[in-house]
Point group: C2
Amino acid sequence: MEKYRKSESALSALSALAQEHRLAVFRLLVQAGPEGLAAGDIAEKLDLPASSLSFHLSHLKQGGIVGVERQGRSIIYRADFAAMNELMAYLLENCCAGSDRPSPALSEFESKGEAA
Amino acid sequence: MEKYRKSESALSALSALAQEHRLAVFRLLVQAGPEGLAAGDIAEKLDLPASSLSFHLSHLKQGGIVGVERQGRSIIYRADFAAMNELMAYLLENCCAGSDRPSPALSEFESKGEAA
DNA sequence: TCAATATTTCGATAATACTGGAAATATGGA
DNA sequence: TCCATATTTCCAGTATTATCGAAATATTGA
Protein backbone atom coordinates (compact mmCIF):
# COMPACT_ATOMS: atom_id res chain seq x y z
CA MET A 1 0.00 0.00 0.00
CA GLU A 2 1.24 3.42 0.97
CA LYS A 3 0.57 4.86 -2.46
CA TYR A 4 1.86 8.39 -2.17
CA ARG A 5 -0.71 10.11 -4.32
CA LYS A 6 -0.06 13.44 -2.65
CA SER A 7 -1.21 16.71 -4.08
CA GLU A 8 2.38 17.81 -4.33
CA SER A 9 3.42 15.13 -6.76
CA ALA A 10 0.14 15.31 -8.63
CA LEU A 11 0.74 19.01 -9.03
CA SER A 12 4.20 18.60 -10.49
CA ALA A 13 2.96 15.90 -12.85
CA LEU A 14 0.11 18.13 -13.92
CA SER A 15 2.35 21.11 -14.54
CA ALA A 16 4.65 18.89 -16.51
CA LEU A 17 1.78 17.98 -18.83
CA ALA A 18 0.16 21.38 -18.94
CA GLN A 19 2.23 22.80 -21.75
CA GLU A 20 1.72 22.38 -25.46
CA HIS A 21 5.16 21.03 -26.33
CA ARG A 22 5.47 18.89 -23.26
CA LEU A 23 2.10 17.29 -23.80
CA ALA A 24 3.14 16.54 -27.38
CA VAL A 25 6.43 15.06 -26.19
CA PHE A 26 4.71 12.92 -23.63
CA ARG A 27 2.13 11.63 -26.09
CA LEU A 28 4.96 10.75 -28.43
CA LEU A 29 6.71 8.84 -25.67
CA VAL A 30 3.52 6.99 -24.83
CA GLN A 31 3.18 5.97 -28.46
CA ALA A 32 6.79 4.90 -28.53
CA GLY A 33 6.15 2.58 -25.61
CA PRO A 34 8.78 1.01 -23.38
CA GLU A 35 11.49 1.43 -26.00
CA GLY A 36 11.40 5.15 -25.56
CA LEU A 37 12.88 7.72 -27.89
CA ALA A 38 16.19 9.56 -28.14
CA ALA A 39 16.07 13.29 -27.50
CA GLY A 40 17.19 13.91 -31.05
CA ASP A 41 14.35 11.86 -32.49
CA ILE A 42 11.85 13.80 -30.45
CA ALA A 43 13.36 17.09 -31.55
CA GLU A 44 13.11 16.03 -35.17
CA LYS A 45 9.56 14.72 -34.97
CA LEU A 46 8.29 17.80 -33.20
CA ASP A 47 10.56 20.24 -34.97
CA LEU A 48 11.89 21.83 -31.81
CA PRO A 49 15.32 23.37 -31.25
CA ALA A 50 17.50 21.08 -29.17
CA SER A 51 17.89 23.50 -26.29
CA SER A 52 14.17 24.19 -26.07
CA LEU A 53 13.37 20.53 -26.12
CA SER A 54 15.94 19.89 -23.44
CA PHE A 55 14.26 22.48 -21.26
CA HIS A 56 10.93 20.70 -21.62
CA LEU A 57 12.37 17.25 -21.14
CA SER A 58 13.92 18.28 -17.86
CA HIS A 59 10.55 19.63 -16.81
CA LEU A 60 8.92 16.28 -17.62
CA LYS A 61 11.66 14.54 -15.70
CA GLN A 62 11.11 16.86 -12.73
CA GLY A 63 7.43 16.09 -12.92
CA GLY A 64 8.32 12.45 -12.48
CA ILE A 65 6.47 11.25 -15.55
CA VAL A 66 9.39 10.34 -17.76
CA GLY A 67 12.47 8.25 -17.17
CA VAL A 68 15.88 8.86 -18.69
CA GLU A 69 18.74 6.60 -19.61
CA ARG A 70 21.89 7.23 -21.55
CA GLN A 71 22.48 4.83 -24.39
CA GLY A 72 25.72 5.49 -26.14
CA ARG A 73 25.75 8.98 -27.51
CA SER A 74 22.00 9.28 -27.26
CA ILE A 75 19.83 9.91 -24.26
CA ILE A 76 16.66 7.88 -24.23
CA TYR A 77 13.48 9.17 -22.70
CA ARG A 78 10.52 7.01 -21.90
CA ALA A 79 7.09 7.63 -20.48
CA ASP A 80 6.79 6.48 -16.88
CA PHE A 81 3.54 4.57 -17.07
CA ALA A 82 3.45 3.83 -13.37
CA ALA A 83 3.70 7.51 -12.53
CA MET A 84 0.99 8.31 -15.03
CA ASN A 85 -1.24 5.71 -13.40
CA GLU A 86 -0.64 7.31 -10.04
CA LEU A 87 -1.66 10.64 -11.44
CA MET A 88 -4.82 9.08 -12.83
CA ALA A 89 -5.56 7.51 -9.47
CA TYR A 90 -5.06 10.83 -7.72
CA LEU A 91 -7.38 12.61 -10.11
CA LEU A 92 -9.96 9.87 -9.83
CA GLU A 93 -9.98 10.10 -6.05
CA ASN A 94 -9.66 13.83 -5.65
CA CYS A 95 -11.04 15.44 -8.73
CA CYS A 96 -13.70 13.11 -9.95
CA ALA A 97 -16.83 11.79 -8.26
CA GLY A 98 -19.84 11.20 -10.44
CA SER A 99 -23.15 12.72 -9.36
CA ASP A 100 -23.86 9.14 -8.30
CA ARG A 101 -21.14 9.18 -5.69
CA PRO A 102 -21.84 8.30 -2.04
CA SER A 103 -22.02 11.86 -0.78
CA PRO A 104 -19.02 13.19 1.15
CA ALA A 105 -17.90 9.71 2.12
CA LEU A 106 -15.21 9.57 -0.52
CA SER A 107 -13.93 13.03 0.32
CA GLU A 108 -13.52 12.14 3.96
CA PHE A 109 -11.46 9.20 2.89
CA GLU A 110 -9.23 11.37 0.75
CA SER A 111 -8.72 14.11 3.31
CA LYS A 112 -7.51 11.45 5.71
CA GLY A 113 -5.02 10.25 3.13
CA GLU A 114 -3.82 13.78 2.52
CA ALA A 115 -3.08 14.57 6.15
CA ALA A 116 0.12 12.50 6.43
CA MET B 1 -20.82 10.45 -30.23
CA GLU B 2 -18.37 13.02 -31.48
CA LYS B 3 -16.62 13.34 -28.15
CA TYR B 4 -14.28 16.25 -28.70
CA ARG B 5 -11.39 15.06 -26.59
CA LYS B 6 -8.96 17.30 -28.48
CA SER B 7 -5.55 18.14 -27.21
CA GLU B 8 -6.52 21.78 -27.13
CA SER B 9 -9.26 21.35 -24.57
CA ALA B 10 -7.27 18.81 -22.62
CA LEU B 11 -4.46 21.32 -22.46
CA SER B 12 -6.62 24.09 -21.08
CA ALA B 13 -8.16 21.75 -18.53
CA LEU B 14 -4.69 20.60 -17.50
CA SER B 15 -3.35 24.14 -17.16
CA ALA B 16 -6.40 25.00 -15.13
CA LEU B 17 -5.57 22.24 -12.65
CA ALA B 18 -1.81 22.69 -12.69
CA GLN B 19 -1.63 25.36 -10.04
CA GLU B 20 -1.61 24.93 -6.31
CA HIS B 21 -4.54 27.17 -5.47
CA ARG B 22 -6.63 26.11 -8.43
CA LEU B 23 -6.15 22.43 -7.67
CA ALA B 24 -7.22 23.14 -4.10
CA VAL B 25 -10.28 25.04 -5.30
CA PHE B 26 -11.24 22.29 -7.66
CA ARG B 27 -10.86 19.59 -5.03
CA LEU B 28 -13.05 21.63 -2.74
CA LEU B 29 -15.70 21.92 -5.45
CA VAL B 30 -15.56 18.19 -6.06
CA GLN B 31 -16.12 17.58 -2.36
CA ALA B 32 -18.96 20.06 -2.35
CA GLY B 33 -20.68 18.10 -5.10
CA PRO B 34 -23.50 19.34 -7.32
CA GLU B 35 -24.49 22.00 -4.81
CA GLY B 36 -21.31 23.89 -5.49
CA LEU B 37 -19.88 26.66 -3.37
CA ALA B 38 -20.10 30.44 -3.36
CA ALA B 39 -16.91 32.29 -4.22
CA GLY B 40 -16.85 33.79 -0.76
CA ASP B 41 -17.01 30.40 0.92
CA ILE B 42 -14.11 29.19 -1.16
CA ALA B 43 -12.10 32.30 -0.33
CA GLU B 44 -12.74 31.74 3.36
CA LYS B 45 -11.96 28.04 3.37
CA LEU B 46 -8.74 28.50 1.45
CA ASP B 47 -7.84 31.83 3.00
CA LEU B 48 -7.31 33.61 -0.29
CA PRO B 49 -7.85 37.30 -1.08
CA ALA B 50 -11.02 37.78 -3.10
CA SER B 51 -9.28 39.20 -6.13
CA SER B 52 -6.72 36.42 -6.27
CA LEU B 53 -9.40 33.79 -5.97
CA SER B 54 -11.41 35.47 -8.68
CA PHE B 55 -8.37 35.29 -10.95
CA HIS B 56 -8.08 31.56 -10.36
CA LEU B 57 -11.79 30.90 -10.68
CA SER B 58 -11.85 32.55 -14.08
CA HIS B 59 -8.93 30.37 -15.07
CA LEU B 60 -10.86 27.26 -14.02
CA LYS B 61 -13.87 28.53 -15.91
CA GLN B 62 -11.72 29.12 -19.00
CA GLY B 63 -10.37 25.63 -18.64
CA GLY B 64 -13.94 24.39 -18.89
CA ILE B 65 -13.85 22.38 -15.69
CA VAL B 66 -16.11 24.50 -13.52
CA GLY B 67 -19.57 25.94 -14.08
CA VAL B 68 -20.84 29.22 -12.72
CA GLU B 69 -24.24 30.49 -11.75
CA ARG B 70 -25.35 33.59 -9.97
CA GLN B 71 -27.59 32.96 -7.01
CA GLY B 72 -28.74 36.15 -5.40
CA ARG B 73 -25.74 38.14 -4.26
CA SER B 74 -23.47 35.12 -4.42
CA ILE B 75 -21.89 33.44 -7.37
CA ILE B 76 -21.91 29.70 -7.16
CA TYR B 77 -19.14 27.61 -8.66
CA ARG B 78 -19.41 23.90 -9.24
CA ALA B 79 -17.06 21.27 -10.57
CA ASP B 80 -18.00 20.19 -14.08
CA PHE B 81 -17.85 16.44 -13.67
CA ALA B 82 -18.57 15.74 -17.30
CA ALA B 83 -15.61 17.88 -18.37
CA MET B 84 -13.41 16.17 -15.84
CA ASN B 85 -14.45 12.81 -17.21
CA GLU B 86 -13.55 13.95 -20.69
CA LEU B 87 -10.14 14.95 -19.46
CA MET B 88 -9.71 11.55 -17.87
CA ALA B 89 -10.75 9.89 -21.11
CA TYR B 90 -8.27 11.98 -23.07
CA LEU B 91 -5.45 11.13 -20.71
CA LEU B 92 -6.39 7.47 -20.75
CA GLU B 93 -6.30 7.34 -24.54
CA ASN B 94 -3.35 9.59 -25.18
CA CYS B 95 -1.15 9.48 -22.15
CA CYS B 96 -1.64 6.07 -20.71
CA ALA B 97 -1.21 2.66 -22.34
CA GLY B 98 -0.03 -0.17 -20.18
CA SER B 99 2.92 -2.21 -21.41
CA ASP B 100 0.15 -4.65 -22.34
CA ARG B 101 -1.31 -2.32 -24.92
CA PRO B 102 -1.85 -3.47 -28.52
CA SER B 103 1.22 -1.80 -29.98
CA PRO B 104 0.68 1.36 -32.02
CA ALA B 105 -2.88 0.41 -32.89
CA LEU B 106 -4.35 2.71 -30.29
CA SER B 107 -2.13 5.59 -31.32
CA GLU B 108 -3.22 5.32 -34.92
CA PHE B 109 -6.78 5.54 -33.76
CA GLU B 110 -6.08 8.67 -31.76
CA SER B 111 -4.10 10.45 -34.46
CA LYS B 112 -7.08 9.98 -36.75
CA GLY B 113 -9.34 11.48 -34.15
CA GLU B 114 -6.98 14.39 -33.69
CA ALA B 115 -6.83 15.33 -37.36
CA ALA B 116 -10.30 16.86 -37.54
C1' DT C 1 44.28 12.13 -29.41
C1' DC C 2 41.11 14.25 -32.62
C1' DA C 3 36.88 14.95 -35.04
C1' DA C 4 32.02 14.08 -35.27
C1' DT C 5 27.69 13.37 -32.98
C1' DA C 6 24.19 13.92 -29.29
C1' DT C 7 22.64 16.49 -25.76
C1' DT C 8 22.77 19.72 -21.97
C1' DT C 9 23.83 24.03 -19.66
C1' DC C 10 24.32 28.98 -19.80
C1' DG C 11 22.65 33.44 -20.42
C1' DA C 12 19.98 36.97 -22.14
C1' DT C 13 15.38 38.19 -23.61
C1' DA C 14 10.57 37.89 -24.16
C1' DA C 15 6.25 36.31 -22.72
C1' DT C 16 3.00 34.77 -19.41
C1' DA C 17 1.19 34.09 -14.91
C1' DC C 18 0.35 35.41 -10.06
C1' DT C 19 -0.65 38.67 -6.35
C1' DG C 20 -3.56 41.79 -3.90
C1' DG C 21 -5.34 46.52 -2.92
C1' DA C 22 -8.56 49.74 -4.72
C1' DA C 23 -12.31 50.87 -7.63
C1' DA C 24 -16.29 49.24 -10.21
C1' DT C 25 -20.49 46.28 -10.74
C1' DA C 26 -24.60 43.62 -9.34
C1' DT C 27 -27.97 42.28 -6.00
C1' DG C 28 -31.16 42.45 -2.24
C1' DG C 29 -33.23 44.56 1.62
C1' DA C 30 -34.66 48.63 4.57
C1' DT D 1 -33.21 55.46 -3.05
C1' DC D 2 -29.46 54.21 -0.16
C1' DC D 3 -26.62 51.05 2.16
C1' DA D 4 -24.40 46.63 2.93
C1' DT D 5 -22.86 42.44 0.83
C1' DA D 6 -20.62 39.54 -2.76
C1' DT D 7 -17.78 39.41 -6.38
C1' DT D 8 -15.30 41.00 -10.28
C1' DT D 9 -12.28 44.03 -12.91
C1' DC D 10 -8.42 47.05 -13.08
C1' DC D 11 -3.77 47.92 -12.47
C1' DA D 12 0.90 47.74 -11.18
C1' DG D 13 4.34 45.20 -9.39
C1' DT D 14 6.70 40.76 -8.91
C1' DA D 15 7.76 36.19 -10.14
C1' DT D 16 7.94 32.34 -12.96
C1' DT D 17 8.27 30.14 -17.46
C1' DA D 18 9.57 29.71 -22.29
C1' DT D 19 12.72 30.53 -26.14
C1' DC D 20 16.94 29.57 -28.56
C1' DG D 21 21.77 30.54 -30.00
C1' DA D 22 26.25 29.68 -28.35
C1' DA D 23 29.36 27.34 -25.42
C1' DA D 24 30.21 23.30 -22.64
C1' DT D 25 30.03 18.21 -21.75
C1' DA D 26 29.90 13.16 -23.01
C1' DT D 27 30.60 9.46 -26.00
C1' DT D 28 32.21 6.88 -29.88
C1' DG D 29 35.06 5.64 -33.56
C1' DA D 30 39.11 6.45 -36.43
